[in-house]
């Protein structure tokens, strides 16, 4: 079993399908009916025959009921279109913490789970990373190929050699912006603890909300788990992280210190979300890391929480195509 294989039932994921707002941009032929005339079998309306219409679409009975000679009516059907999901993973080195149950692993589980859902409905999925040291080209796949490509992408991200923790991560959104046009929805998987000094990420997320696209932000919250680690140690020497350097002075862990941390992080996340705010932004309830038990506990928590998570319920639905 791969490390990045999500600990949830694949059958459950296969029974779901993407259910985005009907207003999101779509393309090609897919399983999603749209309020546009198309080539599906779903009847939409009658309209008057126009030159060039296929004579086989004329509904003769309806035409006779109009009572007008030559008033022929043709059947118009709804369109079946395909949606495209762009999943962006925050791949900062700090996402590999806590070491026993890295947040990056949880993000990759979500990524592969959504790829399974997209594959079931024949949609296209694009995968990209933020702050990655690897080639930041996006990877896309459609239909049944999506899970395989997602697996390869996730394994590549997971096994890539991370940059040192103390380096300042640099976000690259050029490729993401380039591939934004076909996307129907964007999913960002992150702890939102990064800094965005140039505002590139904010610009990308605001642009992602244009054209009625949906943007889902899934927060990965390991704050309490890491605070529990710090609490157990009582006194710590914190490793330098993302440009913030600490000397050898030990840090005493106490309740005020923890409260201050919670407050700071809460403010930081709120600022991030406020900067990205727009009509298409949906911030899902965070996936919370268990405070003890490590990876097995995380697997169990993911298996219990993800099927009922806001992200899955917001993006996918059980039953037929929508």
């Amino acid at each position: 079993m791969d490390a990045t294989e999500p600990p949830v039932s694949r059958d459950m994921l296969r029974q779901a399908h993407l259910r985005l707002r009907h207003s999101v941009p779509t393309g090609g032929i897919g399983q999603h009916l749209r309020r546009r005339a198309g080539q599906s079998l779903e009847f939409r309306e009658f309209r008057s025959y126009q030159m060039g219409d296929d004579i086989r679409l004329v509904d003769w009975r309806a035409s006779l009921r109009t009572g007008r000679l030559g008033g022929r009516l043709v059947r118009v059907f709804e369109a079946e279109e395909r949606t495209t999901l762009l999943i962006v993973v925050d791949a900062r080195p700090a996402m590999r913490l806590p070491e026993a149950a890295p947040k990056l692993l949880g993000a990759l589980w979500v990524l592969r789970a959504l790829a399974e859902v997209a594959a079931a409905s024949g949609d296209e999925v694009m995968f990209g990373t933020l702050f990655s040291s690897r080639d930041d080209r996006l990877v896309s796949a459609r239909g049944q190929a999506a899970p395989t490509v997602a697996r390869q992408f996730a394994e590549d991200v997971w096994t890539a050699t991370p940059a040192p923790l103390d380096t300042v991560p640099a976000a690259s959104t050029v490729s993401l912006m380039r591939c934004l046009r076909p996307a129907s929805a964007v999913v960002l998987l992150s702890d939102l603890l990064f800094d965005d000094p140039g505002g590139a990420i904010a610009r990308f997320l605001r642009a992602a909300q244009d054209s009625w696209r949906q943007v889902f932000v899934q927060l990965l919250d390991s704050l309490e788990a890491e605070l529990a680690l710090a609490r157990a140690a009582r006194r710590l020497r914190v490793a330098s992280t993302e440009g913030r350097r600490f000397d050898d002075t030990p840090t005493e862990i106490d309740r005020p210190w923890e409260d201050a941390i919670r407050k700071r992080i809460g403010q930081h996340v709120a600022e991030r979300l406020e900067a990205w705010g727009g009509p298409g932004l949906t911030v899902e309830p965070p996936l919370t890391w268990p405070t003890t038990g490590g990876l097995p506990a995380l697997r169990a928590a993911f298996a219990a929480d993800f099927p009922t998570s806001g992200l899955l319920r917001g993006i996918a639905a059980r039953g037929g195509a929508g």
Binding site: L97, L193, E242, F246, D247, R264
Partner: protein
């Protein structure tokens, strides 16, 4: 005390260890970038925290381990692991020495022991009830053999004497199919004071047989004749027990029977000695007239082979024969000059003299060997002044120096087999010191070679019917006072005597277990925290 001190030190050490503040732990936090700035001047934190580590499970576990170790060292606790079921294994050691044939009123001591053995076995079997039970009988005298309880009826006394050590040895036998828990010794001997091992089965010593007077011939000694003419003597020892008068002693031999007078001995009350001149060599029989309690010690046969005079092949014409010496060409001892040593038969003992005093020599004493028979009565200070001349020729084969002068010349020499001595010749008309030295050396050598000690006799006790009884003298004291009978065997106490196990290994094991639990708990906690 030392252990307590060590444990106290260990406890204090553990306390000090847990009073230490833990070293800061290196940790990587994903939100470290957002941590508040540390204080500009870090607060100094003392190394030791004054608060007791009451919330530390490790501390309490370590304290418990120290307490257990202390208890293991100091507390002499014993634990009876379970109650063992009652199991009785009875060994009856029956004295079947010849003295057990002593009868009083037609009942022998063997009969008494036999009935007592049956009672002991029945009591043990009844105490065992349905519990496992086994018994065995050891018939012991000077030697021992096993028998079954049912064979007691046909058991007879063995024609040999025994003592308490023989019985104890039989009682301690371990090669048995029966797991022995109790040993009962039935004997007419009083219980010995020998220490019985604490871990051995429970011992009961039951003395049977009322005290009965007895007289016995316990020893015969032959005193050889002396050089001074004292003739050989035969001394017969008669012991009486129970305060009776000495019986009439009759000693018979090739020359007929004599009835020597028994004189009281100074050794102990009740002992009488009969001194007589031995007659012609041959088998003799000493016997007591009359009948007493035990008849196995009333007749003693022995052989007199030693002559009643000292016969010597005396070839020193100038030296007169001592009074007790008879000249004989076929004697086993020859007294010759050193020059005639070659004419002495090869297997004959020899005393050779050399003219040591004829030559003036004022040399000091050199090396000499320990030889009490020769030098024990010599005043070496006088000998230093009147040192005889050494042997003028090489030592004959087989002789080793006993005394040499400072120049290494051999003055006295001895041969082990056949016995032989070379000493200076005796002189009578010289300096008084020289005369004394020469005569002392010569006659000491002659006494040594002529075998002046007693000749051990082969003593053979026998019954009136002629049956030999080995070591019958050990059975002679039939008047031993009866010791108080031991209390009945408490077989139920066997359960209480279930071996107790010392607790200290368990305490030590528990201490180690606590330490292991503490380590495992720490590992689990560390693992859980790390995750």
């Amino acid at each position: 005390m030392i252990a307590a001190g060590l444990a106290l030190l260990a406890g204090l050490g553990a306390l000090a260890w847990y009073l230490q503040r833990p070293a800061p732990r290196d940790l990587r936090l994903s939100f470290a970038r957002l941590l508040p700035d540390p204080p500009a001047v870090p607060r100094r934190v003392p190394r030791l925290a004054l608060a007791l580590p009451v919330r530390s499970l490790s501390f309490w576990l370590h304290l418990l381990a120290v307490a257990l170790a202390l208890a293991a060292v100091c507390a002499d606790l014993r634990l009876r692991l379970g109650v063992h079921s009652l199991q009785i294994g009875l060994r009856i050691v029956m004295d079947v020495s010849h003295g057990m044939t002593t009868e009083v009123g037609g009942v022998s001591r063997l009969d008494l022991a036999r009935s007592t053995a049956r009672e002991e076995a029945e009591a043990a079997r009844a105490a065992a009830g349905s519990a496992p039970y086994c018994d065995e009988v050891i018939l012991a005298a000077r030697s021992y053999r096993r028998a079954a309880l049912v064979d007691l009826e046909t058991v007879e006394a063995m024609p040999e004497g025994a003592d308490a050590l023989n019985l104890l040895e039989a009682a301690r036998q371990e090669d048995s199919d029966c797991a022995i828990t109790h040993v009962t010794v039935l004997s007419d001997i009083s219980a010995p004071t020998a220490v019985w091992p604490a871990e051995a089965p429970i011992l009961r010593w039951v003395q049977v047989g009322e005290p009965t007077p007895n007289a016995a011939i316990t020893d015969v000694r032959q005193i050889p004749p002396r050089l001074n003419g004292t003739p050989a003597a035969l001394i017969v020892t008669v012991d009486t027990f129970g305060g009776i008068d000495p019986p009439v002693l009759v000693v018979g031999g090739p020359d007929g029977e004599v009835r020597p007078v028994l004189e009281p001995s100074l050794d102990r009350p009740g002992r009488f000695l009969a001194r007589m001149v031995p007659g012609t060599g041959g088998t003799h029989l000493a016997r007591l007239e009359g009948r007493d309690a035990y008849g196995g010690d009333d007749r003693l046969a022995f052989d007199l082979a030693a002559p009643d005079a000292i016969f010597v092949d005396w070839r020193l014409p100038g030296v007169p024969l001592p009074r007790g010496v008879r000249p004989s060409d076929r004697a086993g001892l020859s007294v010759v000059t050193l020059a005639d040593l070659g004419t002495v038969p090869a297997r004959s003992a020899v005393l050779a003299v050399h003219p040591g005093w004829a030559v003036a020599a004022s040399r000091g004493i050199g090396a000499f060997a320990k030889d009490p028979a020769l030098l024990g009565v010599i005043n070496l200070d006088v000998l230093e002044r009147r040192m005889p001349a050494p042997i003028p020729e090489p030592l004959p084969p087989g002789f080793l120096p006993v005394l040499t002068d400072v120049a290494g010349g051999v003055v006295l020499a001895r041969r082990a087999d056949p016995p032989g001595l070379i000493v200076p010749d005796p002189v009578r008309d010289a300096d008084p010191d020289v005369t004394a030295l020469s005569l002392t050396l010569f006659y000491s050598a002659l006494q040594d070679l002529s075998g002046g000690d007693e000749v051990p006799l082969d003593l053979r006790w026998e019954t009136a019917a002629g049956q030999p009884v080995a070591d019958a003298w050990k059975e002679s004291d039939t008047s031993r006072p009866m010791s108080a009978p031991p209390p009945p065997a408490d077989y139920a106490a066997l359960v209480a005597k279930t071996p107790e196990q010392p607790v200290w290994p368990l305490l030590l094991l528990a201490a180690l277990g606590v330490l292991l639990a503490e380590r495992l708990w720490c590992l689990r906690r560390r693992w859980a925290v790390a995750l």
